[in-house]
Structures are given as structure tokens and as C-alpha cells.
Amino acid sequence: MMDHPGEGQLQAYLDGETTPEATEALEGHLRGCPDCRARLEELEALAQEVSRRLAVLEPETDVEAALWRLRQARARKRVGLHRSRTAAAAVVILLLGAGAAMALPGSPVRGWLAGEEEVVTVEAPTSEAVDTEGAALTVALQDGRAQVELNQLHPEAAVAFRLTSGPAVQVQTPRGAALETGTGWVRIQGGEAGRLRLELPREARTVEIRVDGAPRAVLQEGTLEIDGIPVESGDDPDGWIELPREAE
């Protein structure tokens, strides 16, 4: 019979980490050695007790939310990299919003300008409706979701969508539209004729677009549906997809 096994060998045997040969030798010894059997039982009880006590540190893990945060973190990095390569383009966008920002102290658009970044995260909701001259702003998602409400647009206004890899909803309105925004939502009302552009993050959980209260388009898990029909891409060479004026 083999010598008394060490504690480490017994532990390895318990954990199924011994080779077949070592397992056979250990089992042969254990059959004839009550002391080692008792020590093995102690080690087993100790392992079970430790696992039982550690179980109190069992966090509630929301895997979906964590995966979403990971994608957000990655998207922010991509925006950061993209930003450094597109400084000239950023200046053009800033100038587009400048007139609106000057007239709107404290508005989200002003925050967007003051931040020296082309992307602003709207942290707190504002109920203040503001008139703009062709505003461009960014609306952060909330838990991966956003809602866009378009009300009483000009009869000649056109709404166009484009899917992007960015982290937030980008909005460009025609002149004269009134805006209300907050984290995860934007409400746009009125404005002159022209194109209202919405850039939607492909990785959003859901972005819903309502026109005069009626759901017209929804982006879900990377698929855009307009009036319930999945849409792949528009005729526009830049990828813009236009919303039909009337529901299909």
C-alpha cells in the first residue's frame, strides 16, 4: 500500500485532478486507511462549507444590460477615433448649429457647442421647447432605447433615416422647428419645408419614431421597419431612407 498521501494529493483527488494511475493508487490506500478517509471527508466538508459561505456574495447580474454597456463603451471609442480624423467635418457641423446655440442659452444645443465635441450627451431632460434655425443635436440613448416624436411638421418636410455605428441618435432639423429633448427622447415640432434627418445607431435596442402620435418607424436589433415593413436601404447613394408621407 502507498504511503499516506499528502493533503494536496487528497485535495486533488477530491477535485478530480489526479491522473488515472494516481487515482487508483489513492483509492487503494483509502480503502485500508480510516485516518486518510477521515481527512478526505474533512476536506470535502471544508470545501462545501466554503462554497456555502461564499454564496452570500452572489450579485444580481443583468447580462443584457452589461452587454449593452460594453457595446456603448466600444462605440464611444470608435467615435473618439473617428473624431480625430474628421476635425474639418466637425467644424462644418458646429457652424451649422451656431446660430441656434447663440439664441438658446442653456439649451442642449448650446451644451453641444460648448463641449468642443461634435457629439453631446444630453444628461438631463428639459421641458423647455426651443425654436431653432436648423438645429443639429445628439440624443443619448437610455438603456439602449430612444423615442423620437415628430409633430405638425411642414407638409413639404421630408423625414429621412440612416443607420450608423455611432452611440446616439443624431438629429438635424429644418429651419424653425421647436425642440424638446432629454436622455432617450426628443420631440420636434413644426418647422419649415426641408429634410429632417435622423441618424439611428444600428446597435440600439430600440428606437421608435412617432409622427403626430402614430408609430411610423422602429429600429430594433439593427433592423429598421417602416410601417411594419423591414427596410434594407434607400435609393439615396448616401444611404438615406425616406419616410413615406402617409402610412402604407
Binding site: V50, V63, A66
Partner: protein, 162 residues
């Protein structure tokens, strides 16, 4: 690599491991997420078991670094205590909070190698993976593990008798 599948498979255990390794819930969550960010940034490739081991190893280093920074700033460990929510009433919640604190203190009384070994084993890592994680021989893991468990049990019993 299917990120979503890997995340679904690994994240819950990784998060639990991080929560047990540190008393700061923010550090735990950040470390678990940052490990995945680095996996993607560095385009690490391998089989699922290898990627899982890599993620746990990176998270262990991240926690160590962040705890060190936190300690340098003299922040209290209890600043963001991890107290898993429970549907219990106030009395049960208090008792549960005490149990959490007791286990937490006992874990913190272990040295880092013992704590890492013990918690990685709880997540089902093999002796070979444990040996790689704490840089010891695979043949030493059984002994180290048995002693780490005994030290934890002693620390828990000590807490209870005082």
C-alpha cells in the same frame, strides 16, 4: 468569435468573481467590462476556455490595480459596498448584510494568492489554469487550495466567536 455567446457564457461568472474579489461594486463591474473591452481591442483569439481564462486573468490584474489606486487615495472600502439586493424584510436584510460583511472581511484577510486561487476554483477553473493564474506549479495547487480554504474557514469562525 461570437462575442454575444462568449459574453453570455462568461460574464455572469466573471462578474461574480470580481464582486467577490473586491468590496467595491463599481470596481467589480468596471473590471469585468474592461476585460471584455481589452479582449476586443487587442483582438485576442483562442478557444472559449482559453478566452475565459484570459478574461479572468485580465480582470484580476485590473482589480489589483484599481484597488491599489483606491487605497492610495485613502478611500474607505465601505464606500460602495456590495450588498446584493434581496426580497427579504428589514430584519432578514440586516442579517444578510452582516453575513456579507463577515465573508467579505474573511476574504480580505487572505493574501491575494489564496483569495485568487480559492475564488477561481469556485468558478470551476482547473488546477493547470489556477497554476498559470497565480504562477505556481500545478502539483502545488491542491495543497495551496486546501490551506486557503482552511484559512478562510478559520477567519470566518474567528469572526463568529468574537
Amino acid at each position: 468569435m461570437n462575442l454575444e455567446q462568449l459574453f453570455q457564457d462568461v460574464y455572469p461568472g466573471l462578474h461574480r468573481y470580481c464582486v467577490r474579489m473586491t468590496s467595491d461594486s463599481d470596481v467589480a463591474e468596471d473590471a469585468a467590462q474592461e476585460a471584455f473591452v481589452r479582449l476586443l481591442d487587442r483582438r485576442v483569439e483562442g478557444d472559449p476556455a482559453g478566452l475565459r481564462a484570459w478574461l479572468f486573468k485580465v480582470a484580476t490584474h485590473l482589480i489589483r490595480d484599481r484597488v491599489r489606486i483606491r487605497e492610495n487615495r485613502s478611500r474607505l472600502l465601505e464606500e460602495n459596498p456590495v450588498l446584493p439586493s434581496s426580497p427579504d424584510g428589514p430584519g432578514e436584510a440586516l442579517e444578510r448584510g452582516e453575513r456579507v460583511a463577515r465573508v467579505r472581511e474573511a476574504l480580505e484577510s487572505l493574501d491575494e494568492r489564496d483569495r485568487t486561487l480559492l475564488l477561481l476554483r469556485e468558478e470551476g477553473f482547473s488546477y493547470r489554469e489556477l497554476a498559470d493564474a497565480v504562477e505556481v506549479k500545478a502539483t502545488s495547487v491542491g495543497t495551496l487550495l486546501a490551506r486557503a480554504r482552511q484559512r478562510l474557514a478559520n477567519a470566518l469562525d474567528g469572526e463568529e466567536t468574537t
